[in-house]
Assembly symmetry: C2
Homo-oligomer: 494 residues x 2
């Protein structure tokens, strides 16, 4: 137990009378960010007075301040008082606790913000250090120091470098090594055929995420081929951490953010907007409004960043472009667009029904389409949630099953807007039911970025929602059949 | 992003001028707990002025206050303002988002304190609820509400019941179901033969922990065999959560704490103290001093608990008994005790060396003993850390290898005291080397309870330390050979 609130504690004592002043300044910052978020909502054509959104600007402002509190923290304050004298053997006979006494803390779950697009990314941080000067640091401080730098706008390599050098300077050990595994939410690709590529994505095993591993070393860890790196990586391997591509100091991690590859497309004359439905239909790429871009630059400034810093120059535009995908009207237009195939099917179904082709209504067959990927944006936190949708329905014999592409389009249609998962689930079954009739059930499984960032930080958590219509509501065995189908698919896909 | 600090924020605004007064009262509480911790350290025969311990009382006090902040939190404050209107279908056609619209949040990592022995235990919390009244609750609030009750002294079943009923009353949904998987640190059994039972314990897969799963339901979840429970459990199964033994309302979870079974032993006339070395030698069971028991009762009172509450009556005594295992002098005495076999080996080795049996010094063989379990108590936080030790050494041909039981005793000897992992690792190689001579290497892999509780809450994290002596320090291939051996063992044992 313990050192938990040391810093907080000290700050409170030190500040004394200044507390109210600091609080006042913080209110101004929160208010500035809230106003900027209001501008963003307006730019998306949203009514910021509707109930789901009314507190969103304040929520986003507070969470951003908390999520980037690293700008206001000092490593010195954290490490101070957590260095403990510890005898070591530095004699001829060996180095237990001395130069050979590697200490490794593995699997520290953190999150950070991508400086290229402003979306949070997940970090699994592994720190190794070799004590010297006969002192060790409290283990939890390795986590706290890493957190200081994670809670800023970052690039994986810089994050690794900063954690490494600050620990090296703060603890003054024989050496420090840092390995980060980072996951960035993946965007649907232009000409995306995600629904074919991803056969059995399971939310937990990080499909739908781009991964990059980086490392940094100082002191005895400086040489990447050194002996001590071998020990460090061996200890990581014990915990199942396998590092295929380890990058050190390479500039390539700069381009890990998927928004960067879209920059290139823009340069090459392609669309400069993400196109969620592009494999079915084209949407008008809406330009990012200047007012929104300015609003995001204001937010960067309020967080204590310099929007002119070279890595941040394109960030407001990229973030706004990401947001513009969730402009409701964009998608409304496109519902018509995706209809080419659907309309055909609807017509033929309606015709069949009219013609009484439904000869024997009990001759129905259970059908399902599983693992349809989706992306959406949480309207409470303006953060993505994404995952897969499973849809089950009953097909009357003689009628064509609903095409997977159509179901995928319906999923995208309801996903690409400011949403909540419960509503998304309901809207999907309602749409499928209203177009194709009858008995529909959907399970939506999602990772919410708002659950891994924001102080909640429930990294492993995931959310599932169920909606049922018709027979799936009244007949438990129908529901069970569908859930079993999903379960079987998950088992074989894992 | 968002609602993160809503409560904190509001409290700050509401309190206004009372802030200093509250701060003053808090200082008194912290000071009371610190004094009690000082009494505990004195009872353990420790010098609370030695550098490793000097800040321990304050650390423990602050962490305990933070870890039990649930006593000072109100569910109403958390849920208020996080209920969002959401249309549902409650018509004849089905219940999307209505009574059939199950919402499940899985794998929320929490920790709580065992009311039987005061040690923290890990919780994986799964919450399902069926919205009604056309409103849903922000997903993160399910986590926050669960956390309020986790951060108190708890028993798994009561925790499940309290989370369930408070969500049911706070959200007023059609029903709430709660499933908890709880892990309690395991104590070595009297007449323990752990080193034989546990073949390949890996730190991460929760060996060395006792597990219990409990559930609670309200509204449509009240009947345990109901339809909606089937859906909930199916969604948990998607994420690999398999529940073999689910308890509901049974009193059996009361007895999950291993300290409880020792109560029974005491009643039956057996030792009432845990005996870490009992399979080798007997130790004098030291009675728990009354001053220490009173100190723990004072802590309970300071946290806002009633030490006379029936479930807490025996807790101070049990906690002190656990602590007494880490009384340094206890163990010093017993080093002689465990020597029966060791002394014999040492004699024969020394004799061999004297007689020049070491015919050809280059004829040595690499030997290792892996996965020796250990328990220890972090001296910075007064919280357990435990895991496994791997020891490698070179055996001169013709000399008997070191018995596993002896290495296990050395590990226990250095484990059962107030420790830090770095020192433990060094002391193990030093002892093995001084008794048996030469080239020794140890890897200690541990879970630190202080890393999963205390606001750090890095649940998946684990710590590994290496110490090397002799050839393992100078010959990289020797070290590599050992690490590869451990790696192979981990792979086959998983």
């Amino acid at each position: 137990m313990g050192a938990l609130n040391d810093e907080h504690f000290n700050v409170e004592l030190d500040n004394g009378l200044n507390l109210n002043l600091v609080e006042e300044q913080e209110q101004v910052v929160i208010s500035n960010i809230s106003n900027a978020v209001n501008t963003l909502l307006a730019g998306l054509g949203e009514d910021s007075n509707r109930e789901g959104l009314i507190k969103t600007p304040l929520r986003v402002a507070k969470a951003l301040r908390e999520g980037t509190r690293g700008y206001r923290q000092k490593v010195k304050d954290i490490v101070q008082g957590a260095l403990f004298p510890e005898a070591g053997l530095d004699g001829d006979s060996g180095h237990a606790g001395g130069a050979g006494g590697l200490v490794v803390v593995r699997d520290l779950d953190l999150f950070s913000y991508c400086e290229s697009c402003l979306l949070p990314f997940r970090v699994k941080c592994h720190v190794g250090y070799v004590p010297s000067g006969q002192r060790v640091v409290g283990l939890s401080k390795l986590s706290r120091v890493a957190d200081v730098f994670a809670r800023r706008l970052q690039d994986p390599q810089r994050l690794a470098d900063e954690v490494c050098s600050s620990l090296y300077n703060g603890i003054r050990p024989a050496g420090v090594g840092v390995v980060l595994q980072c996951w960035h939410i993946e965007f649907p690709q232009v000409d995306c055929t995600c629904h074919e590529q991803i056969n059995h994505p399971t939310v937990m095993d990080m499909q739908g995420w781009l991964k990059v591993s980086v490392c940094a070393g100082a002191g005895v860890f400086e040489k990447e081929t050194g002996d001590v790196w071998g020990d460090f990586l061996a200890l990581l391997k014990f915990r199942g951490v396998k590092l295929d591509k380890l990058r050190n100091g390479s500039s390539s991690s700069q381009r890990w953010c998927p928004s960067r590859s879209l920059d290139l497309l823009a340069i090459n004359g392609h669309t400069n907007n993400w196109n969620p439905l592009s494999y079915k239909t084209s949407i008008t790429a809406e330009p990012a409004p200047a007012s929104m871009i300015t609003a995001v630059a204001t937010i960067l400034l309020s967080l204590g960043e310099n929007p002119s810093r070279k890595e941040l120059v394109g960030t407001p535009r990229r973030f706004v472009q990401w947001l513009m995908n969730f402009k409701s009207s964009n998608l409304e237009m496109n519902l018509n667009g995706f209809g080419a195939e659907a309309t055909c099917q609807i017509k033929s179904r309606k015709q069949m029904n009219k013609d009484g082709v439904r000869l024997r209504s009990d001759r129905v067959e259970f059908r399902s389409e599983l693992n349809l990927p989706f992306w959406s944006q949480c309207e409470h936190h303006l953060l993505p949630f994404h995952g897969v949708v499973h849809i089950g329905y009953f097909r009357t014999e003689g009628i064509e099953p609903i095409g997977r592409a159509i179901l995928q389009s319906i999923v995208h249609f309801h996903g690409w807007k400011l949403q909540v998962q419960e509503r998304l689930t309901r809207q999907i079954v309602e749409t499928v039911s209203s177009v194709f009739g009858g008995d529909v059930m959907a399970v939506v499984e999602a990772n919410h970025i708002c659950m891994i960032s924001r102080g909640i930080e429930k990294v492993g958590s995931s959310t599932a929602t169920i909606a049922t219509l018709g027979r799936f509501s009244t007949d438990p065995s129908a529901k069970e059949l569908f859930l079993q189908t999903v379960s079987d698919s998950t088992a074989c896909g894992g």
